[in-house]
Amino acid sequence: MKKTVPVPATRVSLAKAPTGIQGLDELTGGGLPAGRPTLVCGSAGCGKTMLAMEFLVRGATQYGEPGVFMMFEENAQELTANARSMGFDLDQLAARKKIVLDYVHIERSEIEETGEYDLEGLFIRLGHAIDSIGAKRVVLDTVEALFAGLPNHAILRAELRRLFRWLKDRGITAIITGEKGEATITRYGLEEYVADCVITLDQRVHEQISTRRLRVLKYRGSAHGTNEYPFLIGERGLSVLPVTSLRLDHAASAERISMGIPRLDEMLGGKGVYRGSSVLVSGSAGTGKSSIGAAFIDAACQRGERALLLAYEESSAQVLRNMSSIGIHLEQWVKMGLLQIHASRPTLHGMEQHLVMMHDIVRAFNPGVVVVDPISNLTLDRNEAEVKPTLMRLIDFLKQQQITTVFTSLTTGGSSTDAPEDSQVGVSSLMDTWLELRNVEFNGERNRTIYVLKSRGMAHSNQVREFVLSDPGIDLVDVYLGTERVYTGTARAAQEAQERLAAELRQQDHERKLRQLAGKRKAIEAQIAALHAEAETEEAEVKFAIAQETNQVKASRQNAEAIAHLRGGATSGKSK
């Protein structure tokens, strides 16, 4: 009968009793330790009773484990009324013998202590309730009220120890709630007796916005998430923001989907973004972030996918009107049930609660694409250490559902000297694709530009495009890349004309230079010819001089021989 949620660990781990509370079972790897008591503690109003009640109701309705709710503070009527606000009908469950509600009334002033006693009455009472419906689960809320009612704490402590032991022996999965103490986990040190699993709840107010948080302080014999996780008490019970980020194993789809603007898809490798990826569209006020989101929704609905728009700046009527002014008619999709718009004030809850709500909505509606416009309103005045893990959980959740998400984000400043990378340090690393929108103010007009700052896993354009919003819709236009800057709007046209003129001038200049060069070459060639002639003249002179000298030598030798001959020739036998 007992269903167990699959546990991530491969080893056989502790038997667990699923709570059925969204997120808590993921956090604890399947639920609370089965057959053992768990201590849930926190200060007043942080949701202990609600958690315990949901555990019991879900156990009775979903897991076939009836339960006993023994309360020491509220009476059964009050509890039933509270439960109704979460959609649980305790009366009906009690009538069907799924649960037993037992209110233990204890009033110090009505009790007189005389001598020895024990709490066997409580045991009998609880035992009887358990036996009457075959209960597997028990909630004691909050057993600490006994400390106020019974003066003899020594007896009480001994009896509580015995009680928890007794519950364990009977194999009851129990939740014992306790009030948070000053220095200890609970005011009366219940953690001493309940050592298997301790969950603390907390409600903190930051910037006037309160957030409930849950933390598994201890879970003997089981791995668990140790962080603080925000949770929400909503209309469908508790939701703990799931801990899917414990793992990073979501499937990566190779499917690409259109952003709804053909030229933008072109910039993203020609095919748009991957299904299940997250897209950040950042930019300062009025750069057209929401319009990109609307175009994306429009495209999704045209494909027949369901889309969810979470609007934090405009009401849904306003969104519909404004988007129809640029040719995006979302109303038809709302009517067809393909589009849901949830508009709420970002200051209504803390960011975590918003995210938990998004979660609930996403689970209920099951959309293919989600647009959050803008996410920056949620992260307002929050430090990034807080924002990032929360957002990461949401993104992980959406990715696991293969939901493609567009987050718009308002950046401050917007001057082109700031590096845009600095403006979104907290969230950018979580995003797969980042589109940056910019206002370029120049020449008496302001124009929008767009570029792809990053896009994981695909070739993407490095170009800046002009982003044009007009009656028929959104379009991207090539910007003019001049020598010094990017030109948009009329400046682009003017610059283009100017550039053409300059090109003509340059062309003429080149021709002139070529002519000059040709002239120069001719002059040089003439010079070379003259030098050649000079060299030849000199050579001839030298040759002439050499010939003359040779002749002289020859002549003088002949002369000498002639003289010798004339003198007798005896000495000149050699000449023969």
Partner: protein, 98 residues
């Protein structure tokens, strides 16, 4: 008070089995009643082991518990009733000064 309220004292002693504490409580109760409420009281002993459903119905936690059902208001006295003074205070009986 005793004179103003001639109605009988309806007392119930809740015990869980024949433990030494419950036996002691019954003996103590009997003795106190005899000496202070002779003829005006009725004691009903309820063994919760036999009637466990009564524990919830009568808001019993500790055993032994003595409940004064009448006269109103209902009073609870827990313990083995060994401290006579406190039992008398609990029952709203002025201790008889000897």
């Amino acid at each position: 008070m005793k004179d103003k309220q001639p109605a009988t004292f309806e007392l119930r002693l809740y015990v869980a089995g024949q433990t030494s504490k419950s036996l002691a409580a019954f003996a103590n109760l009997k003795r106190i009643c005899e000496s202070h409420l002779a003829g005006q009281y009725r004691i009903e002993v309820i063994d919760l082991l036999k009637n466990p459903q009564l524990a919830a119905g009568d808001q019993i936690l500790a055993v032994p518990t003595l409940v004064r059902r009448l006269p109103e208001p209902i009073k609870n006295i827990i313990g083995d009733l060994s401290n006579e003074q406190r039992v008398l205070v609990g029952l709203d009986l002025q201790p008889v000064k000897l």
